[in-house]
Symmetry: C2
Subunit: 470 residues, 2 copies
């Protein structure tokens, strides 16, 4: 382990950056990292090292690192792999203390690659430099208008932090991590590791939820200590891959990761309060849900539904996720009784379709949802809503009712809009309000299940980790 603590500020908030090796051309299709900085409006100083080009994207270049005048906070290296150890040394001589190595061909490749990665680390230790990568897109910091990614990225100042071991999570952050305000792709993780990156994000005030993708967890003990401390205030949602024998073997050749026993990882992550998800879509759902929704303080769910069949799907999944269809309070049942037809015994799920047919959508939905939210035996509400063509909305829309009530109560409301124009209803819910829309019933249950587990972990772990001062 390096004796030099990796400086978060140099990596995440560099004021001056030198790119060593980058495409001569820029613009669409050339994947030149400078294009993102131009598009994002990076306000720091940029130096470009290129042996042949006089200028790139209008920026003057220098022929070699030796010609760099003044210091730089960060170097971004993309060069033939045999030259990388030497470049590390040259950077160090220029006083650069933080380096991102983006190119492939190290522990992700053949035996020579592994040897070269060892030399890179050796050189870094010798000269007091810290390395992120190799084989990485590096850093994303939308707040600082900075990224080292050569893949074109949209800048979004979201309260979502991400630590990953693969650029795919950076490139499609929208669907994989729910978005990314600040991100660190540790990739091969030869020096700066998961625990370092997690620590950085944990200390960022703008970040409220952290998404984590890991193939292996090499510094297990330190990682778990850091994760446990951060989980107390910011939820960490983790996708730990390399679970299967083949996946684990491939992880060795992807980033050189040793994956370990999956069940051990499972228990360890759970004890550290980390919310481990099974699939990429769950990571995005959970990260966004945690960002938007108030906490789910217990396992008791009220279901507001038009569809009995959908209600049963919810009950099946709730059982699997440790959630309970709550026993509604008498006062809530009384509200239902008032609008229900006499032949329908009120209960949970609240099947309100017959009542809607009689008294109208807006009145019945409003009454029911409000009663559920006020019910002390309810920790969260799962709502079914219709997404119909515009002409039907005047009489059959419930999205506005949900929006209105979602601001008034401190309980999570998860909504599954369905029907011909479900996407429109989904978008309307996502745009405003504190209710959260999901594309399937099952994903709604998983979200509330994870949220309930997280709060339970916080309760059970008490403040003990704070008392221990770790």
């Amino acid at each position: 382990v390096s004796p030099y603590p990796p400086s978060k500020d140099l990596f995440l908030y560099p004021r001056s950056v030198v790119f060593v090796g980058l495409p001569r051309n820029n613009g669409p299709g050339f994947l030149n990292p400078i294009d993102n900085l131009i598009r994002w409006g990076f306000r720091g100083t940029v130096h470009l090292v290129h042996p042949h080009a006089r200028e790139i994207a209008g920026f003057p270049t220098i022929e070699g690192l030796s010609m760099l005048e003044g210091p730089a906070d960060l170097a971004v290296v993309s060069a033939p792999r045999e030259t990388v150890p030497e470049i590390i040394g040259q950077c160090a001589q220029k006083g650069i203390r933080a380096i991102v190595v983006t190119n492939q061909g190290f522990a992700d490749a053949d035996s020579r690659g592994r040897e070269l990665q060892r030399l890179v680390v050796e050189e870094a230790r010798r000269s007091g430099v810290r390395i992120l990568g190799p084989n990485t897109l590096g850093i994303v910091n939308a707040f600082h208008r900075f990224t080292t990614s050569f893949m074109p990225l949209e800048r979004q100042e979201l309260a979502i932090g991400a630590v990953c071991q693969s650029g795919v999570f950076v490139v499609d952050a929208k669907r994989l991590t729910g978005g990314m305000g600040i991100g660190v792709d540790i990739a091969n993780g030869c020096d700066v590791g998961l625990a370092d990156a997690l620590e950085w994000l944990g200390s960022e005030a703008a970040i409220r939820v952290i998404a984590l993708h890991a193939e292996g967890i090499p510094e297990g003990g330190r990682f778990l200590t850091v994760a446990r401390r951060i989980s107390g205030t910011k939820p960490i949602v983790a996708l730990k891959t390399g679970r299967s024998w083949r996946g684990a073997r491939a992880a060795v050749s992807h980033t050189g990761s040793l994956c370990g026993e999956d069940q051990v990882a499972d228990v360890a992550l759970r004890m550290a309060g980390v919310l481990r998800v099974d699939e990429t879509q769950d990571m995005a759902d959970l990260v966004r849900g945690l960002l938007v929704l108030p906490p789910m303080r217990g396992p008791r769910v009220a279901v507001v539904t038009f569809t009995g069949g959908g209600g049963i799907i919810l009950l099946d999944f709730m059982e699997r996720w440790g959630l309970e269809p709550t026993e509604l309070a008498t006062s809530t049942l009384d509200v239902l009784q008032e609008v229900y037809p006499p032949w329908l015994p009120p209960g949970n799920p609240m099947d309100i379709w017959p009542a809607i047919m009689k008294h109208g959508m807006e009145r019945v939905y409003g009454l029911t949802l409000k009663a559920a939210l006020m019910d002390p035996s309810v920790d969260g509400v799962l709502c079914v809503a219709l997404g119909l063509p515009p002409e039907h909305r005047a009489r059959l829309d419930s999205i506005e009712v949900i929006q209105g009530l979602s601001g008034e109560f401190d309980k999570p409301i998860v909504v599954w809009p369905y029907g011909e124009e479900a996407e429109e209803a989904h978008a309307r819910l996502t745009e405003r309000g504190r209710a959260f829309a999901v594309p399937t019933l099952e994903r709604g249950v998983r979200l509330l299940g994870h949220m309930s587990r997280y709060e339970r972990w916080k309760r059970l772990s008490g403040g003990s980790f704070e008392m221990a001062g770790s």
Copy 2:
């Protein structure tokens, strides 16, 4: 069991329909079933029974069933529940042999409801009438421009048939069953049951894949015999709910279904060749995938990817779904060797990013995918593709390459497009070609896993069920 076989033609292809009880108003928000028939251009005769309205939606009404002149193929009944048994009798007297009861309040409600449902069945048996429902949206037949649904529906002549026990699958067919050319909502299933409806769809030439939602499977033996026979030529994708204790109990009050032991259902469905899915989104993925893709003749998958991290996620899930990353043929490895940098050992997953950086997207993607498709050790291909903003597509698009090759080989290609404009790439793939786009890597694996299981079932079950003549 009724001695009168339920006539498929009367239910699915009625030439004349009488509605007994329907809203006086029509148009947006009134949920009048007549609006769908107008919108869909139903070509048969329609009679409307209403005690007060002189006309509805421009159609003349009659005051009572007794005033109906001439016969009708089908009656659609929505009336106060106490009156329904009598209406059944009146229909029978008019020579009507098929009735859809749409309203709620029977076995889905209280004890009086269960009693009334019993009386409905008694009356039907006595008078030789068959009943679909109660508590149902009834019939969807886009090809016949006919539906009994009061919920607004889009008409789509898809080769997808659906049998369900809840209207939610009709209303949001797009996302739950992958669409619906012909659909039967058996709901409470007091008379016409799952096996009947399945048999109808099995005999429809226009239907190539069947989606099935069931809470319980009451006539288990007959259902499985029918399912097994149909599975031989048309895949059946099933979502069997009521798995949990609470879900099963709720199914009793939703449709009066007895759910049985879930593991027994699991084995029985598997033996009948039915593809049981775990979640609604898997049902839609699988139904549409089966419709678009050539068969997956074995478990051996080639992966074409830019992302090592994504490749590992695929490997994890492939192991879970009984799929194997194939050992590529030497000829395929030779093709890779030609474009790979010397430091990257070619293998499966085929990690082609470094090659693309050197030789360009179009050439490398085309070479690789074609080699995989030609490789005799490959049964299906999982592709990762980029979905980038338009300006990057000239150099970095692979969608066109995939489209081009997908028509040439008889192997399934499943594609996960990712990046800032993944949805655009997804839509382009869905619109044309025989490749199939998925929104997550994991869903792609599940799709191929189910498809491979289906072909194996077909091979193992041989033609035995045909020899048995069942």
